[in-house]
């Protein structure tokens, strides 16, 4: 099979750090955190206080009011991010391109708030009916479907739901389709909007949410912080992108997956290590070529220590020469969108020769003895980088990116 090199030619972001890719990136470089006291839910109803919410978001500022009414928040985010990515890539739509382009999105919770509202009507208010669009609003693939409708895309389109690895799996699958020639172009990423009572109560019950902020790899960490948002990437063959005069941001070169097959929530070293090795092998990269890893870095003790051990296992002595950061310290853990936001951070790191920091870092945890770029972005032009996503359920996905001259 004739494998094509695949470039990322456009990115779009909706995040607690800004409603476009550039403000997201500038905030990451400034180590500015989007984490604050949760405002969308009455604080008396939940035991934890902090989240990375998108404040002052008005759907009608970005979407036609009627279109917006047919989408839940997570699907709106997906479409807005896709619009920015497609505009940034200056895609010239033709009938042939529309017919075979792909859309792959990731989401963990989808539009569940509309279901929650329906349950309230049924079980609390004793009503006998729910919103007529409960199904199309809540389905996890609503984001992918609305992106297809928005651009008239009719090729392979679907949604992946692998918890916190959803959008990394989505981007990886889209990458493989473009690389193999199964699709001439793809819009891929993920979106999530987890700030609704049922979801927050479920996270509260898991007892993994931080008491203050998100401090990955820091001795003082006390858990993860939820975030919301979306990111979409436009993937196309590098030669075709250059031929049409596009400006590729970076090359996507590898995708690796694995399953822990061990425990439903407790991570192990082998699964994440295998996913990183598989991504390197798929990319044809030697471990020594990796200069940066955008870590899964949730700031739970279990993740950070296991991820550190997995990186040491794969990179051996090179682990002391590469830089690792968790941008979740700033945009929070956006679950099904996190891999896509972190893919954008990785692509920009290669494009601009700057590595985003791990914010809110206080002092090192000896069990996480990596160079985690504490609190300050760093100027460094690395050749290639990885972006890690390790989901509850032990499903792991890793992307590899390479800088372009």
């Amino acid at each position: 099979m004739n494998m094509r090199r695949v470039a990322i030619t456009g990115v779009g972001v909706v995040s607690p750090l800004g409603l476009d890719a550039d403000s997201f990136w500038q905030s990451l470089l400034a180590a500015k955190s989007g984490i604050g006291e949760i405002q969308s839910i009455d604080p008396a109803q939940i035991r934890f206080k902090y989240g990375a919410e998108i404040k002052n978001y008005i759907p009608e500022d970005h979407l036609d009011a009627k279109d917006a009414s047919f989408m839940q928040r997570f699907a709106q985010f997906a479409v807005i991010a896709a619009e920015e990515a497609v505009a940034g890539a200056s895609i010239e739509w033709t009938a042939a391109l529309r017919e075979s382009a792909a859309v792959v999105t990731g989401s963990c919770l989808g539009g569940r708030p509309i279901e929650e509202a329906g349950y309230w009507e049924l079980f609390h208010n004793n009503r006998s009916r729910v919103h007529p669009l409960t199904i199309p609003l809540s389905m996890n693939n609503a984001g992918a479907s609305h992106i297809c409708m928005r651009f008239g895309v009719q090729g392979p389109a679907y949604t992946v739901s692998t918890a916190c690895a959803s959008s990394t799996h989505a981007i990886g699958q889209a990458f493989w389709m473009v690389r193999s020639g199964a699709a001439p172009m793809a819009i891929a990423g993920g979106s999530e909007a987890p700030f609704f009572l049922g979801s927050l109560k479920a996270w509260e019950a898991m007892r993994v949410i931080s008491k203050d902020t998100c401090r990955p790899f820091s001795r003082e960490r006390s858990g993860m912080v939820l975030g919301e948002g979306a990111a979409m990437l436009v993937l196309e063959p590098l030669d075709a992108a250059l031929a049409r005069g596009a400006h590729p941001l970076a090359e996507i070169v590898g995708f690796g997956m694995s399953a822990d097959a061990s425990h439903i929530t407790q991570p192990v070293v082998t699964g994440p290590a295998n996913a990183m090795r598989n991504a390197l092998r798929d990319a044809g990269l030697a471990p020594e070529q990796i200069g940066y890893i955008n870590a899964h870095g949730t700031a739970t003790e279990a993740n950070d220590r296991t991820e550190t051990a997995a990186i040491r296992c794969v990179f051996d002595r090179h682990a002391d020469r590469l830089a690792v950061s968790s941008t979740k310290s700033m945009h929070g853990h956006t679950l099904g969108a996190s891999g896509a936001l972190e893919a954008v951070a990785s692509v920009f790191a290669l494009k601009h020769g700057k590595l985003p920091p791990t914010a809110n870092f206080l002092s090192p945890d000896p069990a996480c003895d990596l160079d985690v770029i504490p609190n300050q972005a760093r100027e460094a032009q690395v050749e290639a980088c990885l972006s890690n996503s390790f989901a509850f359920g032990g499903l792991n996905a890793v992307l590899a990116f390479k800088s372009l001259p």
Binding site: R47, M206, R207, I209, K211, H263, T265, Q266
Partner: protein, 91 residues
């Protein structure tokens, strides 16, 4: 009617653990460790949830993280139950 003895907090905690872990009550002792009962992080979550229901208390995340064995769990629950009855309005 014969007077029934009220189960102690310790007995109730042990019963919650045995029920949650699906093990015989006789196998759970105050001196048992989480390891000896193969209680992992998810089992702990279930037990904390069941203890909150059994005693109508709220167990703080940070306090829960400090608990290393069954005895500490019994002590922690006892403190919370006592604090609750101390703050309850007099009848």
């Amino acid at each position: 009617m014969p007077k029934q003895s009220v189960p102690s907090i310790q007995d109730r905690v042990l019963k919650v653990i045995a029920t949650s872990k699906h093990v015989p009550l006789e196998s759970v002792h105050p001196d048992s460790t989480f390891e000896s009962l193969t209680i992992d992080s998810l089992d702990r979550l279930n037990i904390l949830f069941d203890l909150e229901s059994e005693f109508d208390i709220e167990i703080n995340d940070e306090d829960a993280k400090e608990v290393k064995d069954i005895r500490e769990m019994i002590e922690g629950v006892t403190k919370l139950v006592e604090a609750k009855s101390a703050s309850a309005p007099a009848e």
